[in-house]
């Protein structure tokens, strides 16, 4: 270690009603060190850094920053002392320009010193973080938005930069660029606290790692000397047997989407362009892509929330369903689990049994001739809760009272127990702990084994490599042709995910060249 640590935490404890978020956590970050904070979802990483950044206050314990007692009561105080933070969910305003966003993130005094516009350009060129101060943030990709956040932090010359799961929204190529920037910062003496659950990344980037599990410190190590497996065991506490992908030969085509184009009706949405895909029985098609590249719009189109222009654009077992609504599609055997759980897949304030009526009403006889059957709905909800071991006080509990992972299990259960012919799930394990994620993966594999066609839209490449039989990439609303998982590498996917318009155009042209003769 180089001299005194820049940040030191001693015996930090923080509890929320009913939950101990952090218990007796102590560790320190050295000057110019890239320090990993490793842990599963719900291990208490976020709460810990929120305390360092002054968003929350510890119940007990103390912190020192550059040798002085440190107890920021609000983020501006932490910033003033030299702590910068890039959140997982960016604090950005879509309808404002990059310049305005950055000005908002600085204190009035900071924003006034010198020509802010020039300083933005200076910092962004120095660290290779290209940003255009006059663009509206809403028009930028997620990677570009992250750059704004980083530039914003760097403008106040932090001594410690906290990065919360920064790579979950980046393409592998963008990740490499980010790592370059971070290494450069560290070499200039800025310490970095890097929060992640991605082991390979941590091994590539960090020189020290602190591992949290269930809110407690379980150890620290030099990740470069560990294997991914040993790190995982520290993080999870047990060896997980990963579900094995042993699917039979694919059968007939069940779901077919052809030349589906659809304009977004959102302000900063993505238009779908000529999306074409086919999924066979027993297949799991993974759709990779960085957030905000048309996944939401594709999901809406597949659910039928917005009808296609032509009915033949989506086919289920050969029948045209492009203009059918969600209820008709469900009646034909499709099921959906969208990304957003509260407010999209479930009504937050309604009980679990009521939430079954949203999508399982018809297939499970929960309502007949317009009349709700509370008995049947309750019974169905109970079965879902039992089968998937959903942790809840009962089926009369409101959906919003469940934890993210448990609600996701409930939603997946609700859909899967309808025995769908086609299941489409977006981000099925996002924010879910490892145990629950494994359960969900197993369920998806079982479903495919029984002959369903499954589509998984996910930003998590590990997940897609684990369970998909084929993977395709969505970028800028265009879906690249899929390839068998075995023939793909992270790098090749990454190139497509970062797909600039040029490459998309090229792929499309190639597409048309192949497709043309088939039409004749």
């Amino acid at each position: 270690m180089t001299g005194t640590p820049i940040l030191e935490l001693r015996n930090i404890t923080k509890t929320f009603p009913g939950v101990v978020a952090n218990e007796d956590v102590s560790f320190s970050v050295g000057r110019g060190e890239i320090h990993a904070l490793l842990g599963e979802n719900g291990a208490g990483k976020s709460t810990l850094v929120k305390m360092i950044y002054g968003i929350q206050k510890p119940d007990s314990g103390e912190m020192t920053f550059m040798g002085e007692a440190f107890a920021p009561s609000k983020p501006s105080e932490a910033r003033q002392k030299g702590v910068g933070m890039v959140f997982q969910h960016f604090c950005l305003f879509e309808a404002l320009t990059v310049y305005e966003n950055i000005a908002l993130g600085l204190s009035a005094a900071e924003a006034k010193t010198g020509d802010l516009r020039q300083r933005i350009i200076d910092v962004s060129t120095t660290y290779g973080l290209k940003v255009d101060p006059d663009r509206l943030v809403g028009t930028l990709s997620v990677g570009e938005r992250q750059r704004i956040e980083i530039v914003r932090c760097l403008l106040s010359e932090p001594k410690l930069l906290i990065m919360d799961e920064p790579t979950s929204v980046l393409t592998p190529q963008e990740v490499n660029v980010l790592f370059e920037t971070l290494r450069r910062l560290a070499s200039e003496g800025c310490s970095i606290l890097y929060i992640s659950h991605k082991l390979e990344e941590i091994r590539a980037l960090c020189s020290k790692a602190t591992v949290l599990r269930g809110g407690k410190l379980v150890g620290s190590c030099d990740p470069r000397r560990e294997t991914a497996k040993s790190l995982a065991e520290m993080m999870i506490g047990a060896t997980l047997n990963r579900p094995v992908r042993d699917l039979p030969e694919p059968g007939e085509i069940r779901l077919k989407v052809q030349e589906l184009s659809m304009e977004s009706d959102e302000q900063f949405g993505v238009d779908l362009e000529n999306v074409t895909m086919a999924v066979r029985a027993g297949e799991i098609l993974g759709i990779a892509g960085v957030a905000g590249n048309g996944q939401t719009e594709l999901m809406e189109a597949l659910i039928g929330e917005r009808p296609c222009r032509f009915s033949r654009q989506i086919q289920l077992d050969g029948a045209d369903i492009g203009q059918a609504g969600p209820r008709e599609r469900r009646a034909l055997g499709m099921c959906f689990a969208p990304e957003e759980r509260l407010g999209h897949a479930a009504v937050p304030g309604m009980a679990l049994w009521e939430n079954t009526l949203l999508s399982a009403g018809r297939t499970n006889d929960l309502a007949r001739r317009g009349l709700i059957s509370p008995t049947n709905a309750n019974r169905f909800a109970l079965r879902v809760v039992d089968d998937l071991k959903v942790k809840t006080a009962g089926v009369k509990s409101a959906a919003r009272s469940l934890s993210g992972g448990n609600l996701q299990k409930f939603i997946m259960g609700r859909e899967i127990m309808q025995r769908p012919k086609v299941l489409i799930a977006s981000q099925p394990t996002w924010g879910v702990d490892a145990g629950a994620a494994a359960t969900i993966h197993r369920i998806l594999l079982d479903l495919a084994r029984e002959g369903a066609a499954v589509v998984i839209i996910s930003q998590d490449l590990d997940e897609l490599f684990t369970i998909s039989t084929r993977i395709s990439v969505i970028a800028g609303g265009y879906l690249f042709p899929s390839q068998p998982t075995g023939e793909l590498t992270v790098e090749s996917l990454g190139l497509a995910m970062g797909g600039r318009s040029k490459e998309i155009e090229a792929a499309k042209r190639a597409d048309e060249a192949v497709a043309e003769p088939a039409h004749v």
Binding site: S60, A69, P326, E328, E340, V347, M350
Partner: protein, 368 residues
Amino acid sequence: MFRLVPRKEPNRAMLYATPFLAVALTIVAGFLLFGALGKDPLHALFLIFLKPLTDFNSLAEMLVKATPLVLIATGLAIGFRAGVWNIGAEGQFTIGAITGGSVALAAYPDGGPLLLPLMAVAGALGGMAWAAIPAFLRTRFNASEILVSLMLVYVATLLLSFLVHGALRDPEGFNFPESRLFQEDAHVPALIPDTRAHIGFLVALFAVAAAYVYLERLILGFQVKVLGQAPRAARFAGYSEKRIVWTCFMISGALAGVAGLFEAAGPVGQLVPSLPVGYGFTAIIVAFLGRLHPVGILFAGLLMALTYIGGETAQIEMSLPSATTSVFQGMLLFFLLATDVLVNFRVARTAKPLATPSGAAPKLKPAE
């Protein structure tokens, strides 16, 4: 200091308790208000809240006032549950009176047993037609139904005034801007003999029962609730927003129209420019006070009717200003909305300020 902490589940006890809490707070505020006006607060509150209950005729009058309030509020509540803000019930009420009343005037002086049902249907259709305007403009052009339906209240009132000054004016009425008195068969039959309470109240009871079944048992009612609470979930489930918006407007328009007709063909007995007296707006208070629940609305409507009757008595006996009643009603809604927070939040003492101004000793000594 205190802060509000969200509850994991809405608190059912608070759901029922807050309307009573709101009434209690209103009474306290009323006590202060009357004191400020230099009137005897206890006597005024007695006149408003208790006196009418001791008198048979006042009880009957309560039913007269409660009828339009309950009818309109029941319809509005279904819409509010869906996030459809029809606040122009007063206009639909007025148009319902015009269309229903016109049927009577057109038939004049003929009558017959079918006349009143025809008038009721015409009233409902009139209210629906008026409600169709904001429904159409919202679903087709995305125009705010709040502002459109509200603007149409003014238009409807002016239309009524225009008609009774012209086409519908009583030819034997010395140029007074009023229609004829309706013929005998066009009057709503009395519910209780020798009082003004009419069978419209039974229709209101029926509407309450029907709305209960609609909201609690029918998928259609479930769709309304889903749209109101989570519009994206409604799309996910495949419920058509357009259809729900239209249904809500048609139900509330029909009920407001019928209420208007009952008012014209009941206690008033003709069309007069002063027919709309604000039931359409008071019904909004009733709907919230009744927790947007049909049964709750029935009780809230009766309570609100009580304040009308009691308010009138107090005005006469204690020469209170006539606006007292509406101030009371406004306060009631305020207190209700204010106490509403307790359903979804609980009050907690803020965590004791952490004793860590720089340099202060931490509570737990680090294990050395």
